[in-house]
């Protein structure tokens, strides 16, 4: 028992510094959702149904621009595709868990829980602490996300439009974009997608974002291929 609590705590403590960056993100989501006219209940429950910050912001952003719903769905899912990659890296470490642990563990996959766990798993670790460490980080993040989005929703109605807080949405994406550019090829992927997005912004149904993202992925992929 002591070992479980210890691992749970270690996970939560390791993710704590990252949580400081999650709080403003959650606040901005809550404010943006309220300003987009999304009801408080749906805005709040989205944090547990979808539980993915960037996708939640995209949904709110596209709803505010009256985008077509199939486009919102596909765009949000493409934003979340990266979590398949996290799952692929975590899968060998989760391989011995029972089905229910895997189901709940999968629901809790986030950029942050993935990042701290995969770094910790590089050092040798027994099966049980591995699991509790992951849940310590993942559940801490879930709780902070729920609390900060709830606060943002409550604040949303009180913030005047003249503050232009909707600008915080692209700024948040910028803060996530910069660390995702790790080398020449990811830089080319970002540039390709950025240029495409500038050119396709008038595309109907807001299809420009998804089109540009796919163009960027292909640019990165073929840039990498051309190096070999």
């Amino acid at each position: 028992m002591g070992q479980r609590i210890q691992s749970l705590r270690a996970g939560a403590l390791d993710v704590a510094p990252i949580l400081l960056g999650v709080v403003p993100f959650g606040l901005i989501y809550g404010v943006a959702a309220t300003e987009a006219g999304l009801g408080s209940l749906s805005a709040f429950l989205m944090s547990s149904i979808v539980f993915a910050g960037a996708a939640q912001l995209v949904i709110v952003d596209l709803l505010a621009q009256n985008a077509a719903w199939p486009v919102i769905l596909v765009t949000a899912l493409v934003i979340n595709l990266r979590m398949a990659m996290y799952g692929a890296s975590l899968a060998p470490h989760f391989a011995h868990w029972s089905p229910w642990w895997k189901r709940v563990g999968a629901y809790l996959v986030t950029d942050q829980a993935f990042a701290v766990s995969i770094i910790r798993y590089e050092k040798p670790m027994a099966e049980l602490p591995k699991r509790w460490y992951y849940f310590g980080a993942a559940v801490a993040l879930w709780l902070v996300w729920q609390c900060s989005t709830m606060t943002g929703i409550a604040l949303g109605a009180t913030i005047p439009a003249s503050w232009e807080l909707d600008f915080a949405v692209p700024l948040t994406f910028m803060a996530l974009l910069v660390p995702s550019i790790k080398d020449r090829n990811s830089m080319l992927a970002a540039l390709g997608a950025g240029v495409a997005a500038a050119l396709t912004s008038t595309m109907i149904f807001k299809l420009g974002i998804i089109t540009s993202a796919l163009i960027g992925v292909l640019v990165g992929y073929f840039a990498e291929g051309s190096e070999r």
Binding site: A91, M174, V178, S201
Partner: protein, 110 residues
């Protein structure tokens, strides 16, 4: 606002929720320890920079009454400054604070 058509919003949220869960669960639950093809892994690696850039650019250039790619686009100027801060500090909080302050300052000055 279309968001008030609440049944549609719930359907949308449900669909994104199910889809997102399946993405998360895919490799952990279904494929288990099966190897992910190298090509798929390489493609997935470029999703974050590409998707995020596709979101940032229109947000700086074309939202609301923004004039696009000119020096009079305050959101673009504030965004470029924020990008520098993001690159130097890697801090979400510092990036947002810089961008918002720069926007407010530019609007107050001009």
């Amino acid at each position: 606002m279309i968001a008030s058509q609440s049944t549609g919003v719930w359907l949308l949220l449900g669909a994104v929720g199910v889809g997102t869960y399946l993405i998360r669960y895919s490799f952990i639950g279904i494929l288990g320890r099966a190897e992910v093809s190298e090509r798929v892994q390489r493609l997935l690696r470029y999703v974050p920079p590409a998707a995020l850039a596709a979101l940032v650019v229109p947000g700086l250039l074309f939202r609301g009454d923004n004039p696009g790619l000119t020096i009079h686009n305050y959101r673009l100027l504030a965004g470029l400054l924020a990008a520098t801060v993001a690159w130097k500090t890697r801090s979400i909080l510092a990036t947002i604070a810089t961008g918002m302050s720069a926007l407010w300052l530019l609007q107050w000055l001009f």
